[in-house]
């Protein structure tokens, strides 16, 4: 009994985050019909990029990428972007809560505000992958979608995506936290969003970038959002690309905890 007590305690602790994640998933479910329409538009974006690549690539390809590989790269990223980048809303919710003063109630909950936010968002992103990403992938599979041959690749890709999603959420959580100081988060958001898309390799492999920018992008947390998972999935790189994601997850978590602590002290409730 004494031995099982800590385990029971742990399962109770994790259960509340599981419930939050389910809520995040279920709340999106009511919009699934309109999200499916959006998936058609997303597939069109994928088609635009695929044909753009077709028109610019030399017949010999570019680096590790032949034209079919680029089709797979774009198809994979258009699918997984709905899990690691698009649809994250935690920054908006934090900003709105700061503006309305509801943030005070959010912070007095007997649980970590950071984990509460991340758990809810994670559920929402799992929904994004299933109802927005996978339909896009199915549509783009008519042009081309790679299926890895090695079973381990599936495992490493899943791990890379789970970590990528986490990094994406924490990035925008930090954007939201800046609202405690500035109320308005547009500038910070746009900066992070552009870096995520540009250095993340969502629309093109980052090897295309000029060498100094590539060096920067390769080791940035943004590469963990699209570029690294795509390279693992396409079997162009091995599981070693998981490590940058692990390191960035730890660093960003520590940073987010510290930022939340500072924000708590800075809290200034708006409204009556």
């Amino acid at each position: 009994m004494l031995l099982t007590a800590p385990l029971t305690n742990l399962s109770l602790k994790t259960r509340k985050y599981w419930v939050l994640m389910s809520r995040g998933f279920l709340q999106n479910l009511q919009y699934s019909a309109s999200h499916l329409i959006n998936a058609v538009a997303s597939a069109v974006f994928g088609i635009i990029y695929i044909y753009l690549w077709k028109s610019v690539m030399p017949p010999t390809g570019f680096g590790d990428y032949s034209y079919p590989t680029m089709v797979y790269y774009v198809s994979f990223n258009e699918t997984t972007m709905w899990f690691t980048q698009f649809g994250i809303r935690c920054h908006v919710r934090i900003r709105d809560a700061v503006r309305s003063g509801n943030i005070a109630q959010e912070l007095v909950r007997p649980m970590s505000f950071f984990l509460y936010t991340v758990a809810y968002e994670y559920g929402s992103m799992i929904y994004g992958l299933i109802f927005r990403g996978i339909p896009v992938g199915l549509m783009l599979s008519t042009i081309g979608f790679y299926l890895p041959k090695n079973p381990a690749t599936w495992f490493w890709t899943l791990l890379a995506l789970l970590l990528g999603c986490y990094i994406g959420i924490v990035d925008l959580y930090l954007v939201g936290i800046t609202a405690f100081w500035t109320t308005e988060i547009r500038t910070v958001y746009w900066t992070v969003a552009m870096l995520s898309l540009g250095l993340g390799g969502a629309s093109m492999p980052i090897e295309v970038l000029p060498a100094p920018v590539y060096g920067l992008a390769r080791w940035s947390p943004f590469a963990c959002l699209s570029f690294n998972p795509a390279r693992i999935y396409l079997e162009l790189s091995g599981a070693e690309l998981i490590w940058p994601a692990v390191v960035w997850s730890v660093v960003l978590t520590l940073f987010a905890h510290r930022a939340t602590e500072l924000a708590r002290r800075k809290l200034e409730v708006q409204g009556g």
């Binding site: 538009a41 069109v44 635009i48 044909y51 610019v56 690539m57 547009r186 898309l197 540009g198 093109m204």
Partner: protein, 283 residues
């Protein structure tokens, strides 16, 4: 009560005075909107700068590709820059003056369209005069910057004549009209299906991105969709292709004007059709 004969001088006078009154009202409402926006000058300037930077990201993607691979289907960076400029300026002008169409879904969902209908002017006119989204001038600045620099380079190399710059401005205005027509047609769908945000991504955002590149790179179905059902390519690609000597005849320059007239008429018809089916959500 006297009845005016159609096309009589009095009727013409009546319609011209109504037109002038509409112009005055539009100006009055827009200037009130601008004054309201300018209450927050810092917010306006900062959001404009952010959006210019954000927009330049799109062009930097094209620039990186062209830096690495030299051309897109035979179009060099300056030629793509001109196409990009025309598309962006057109889209920016539409977003400045037609932004209420972008958020028309909320009018239907919240029942705010009732307040538009009770005014003694056509509902589309009242809707468009409600707001001018000045911050979208960032798109015009960005498009004019990229397009201007590219056009100047082409003029220097002789690939474009000075007089063609006027045609590029005309193509930008035509693009703005076509974006407006597509937006009106999409907004009309809200009268039937209420939720149109996702549909707007399909009919406006995706075609707007597709229009930044030469349409010849796309498969036939996508190319012809952008030249017929969602005719945004008629405003930018068709005239720019001719001006850059990549095919076509003088008729390519007439196409945007004809497309604008036809598209606006169809869009207006769809709007009226939708409006006649409108049911308020109010209590």
């Amino acid at each position: 009560m006297t009845r005016q004969r159609p096309f009589s001088g009095e009727a013409a006078h009546g319609s011209s005075s109504r037109f002038l009154a509409a112009g005055r009202l539009y100006w009055l409402l827009l200037s009130a909107g601008v004054r309201a926006k300018m209450q927050y000058k810092f917010n306006f300037i900062s959001s404009t700068l952010i959006q210019v930077a954000g927009g330049l990201y799109d062009f930097s993607l094209i620039a990186v590709l062209l830096w690495r691979f030299k051309s897109i289907h035979g179009w060099n960076i300056y030629e793509v820059g001109v196409l990009y400029g025309v598309s962006r300026v057109g889209y920016g002008l539409y977003r400045i003056f037609g932004n209420e169409l972008e958020r028309f879904e909320s009018y239907i969902v919240r029942g705010d369209f009732d307040s538009v209908l009770v005014r003694p002017w056509p509902s589309l006119f009242m809707l468009l005069s409600r707001n001018v989204e000045l911050s979208q001038i960032s798109l015009v600045i960005e498009g004019a910057g990229v397009g201007g620099v590219s056009a100047m380079s082409l003029v220097r190399t002789g690939a474009l004549r000075w007089t063609d710059v006027g045609w590029l401005l005309y193509a930008s205005l035509a693009s703005a009209c076509l974006y407006t027509a597509v937006a009106i047609a999409t907004a009309s769908a809200a009268f039937h299906i209420v939720r149109i945000e996702e549909l707007q991504v399909f009919t406006q955002n995706a075609p707007s991105t597709a229009g930044l590149y030469p349409l010849d790179i796309y498969p036939a179905w996508l190319k012809y969709t952008l030249l017929t059902v969602i005719p945004l390519g008629l405003g930018n690609y068709i005239p720019v292709k001719f001006l850059l000597g990549k095919g076509g005849t003088w008729f390519n320059l007439a196409v945007p004007a004809l497309a604008c007239v036809l598209s606006l008429r169809v869009a207006n018809r769809l709007w009226h059709l939708g409006e006649s089916r409108y049911h308020s959500t109010g209590s």
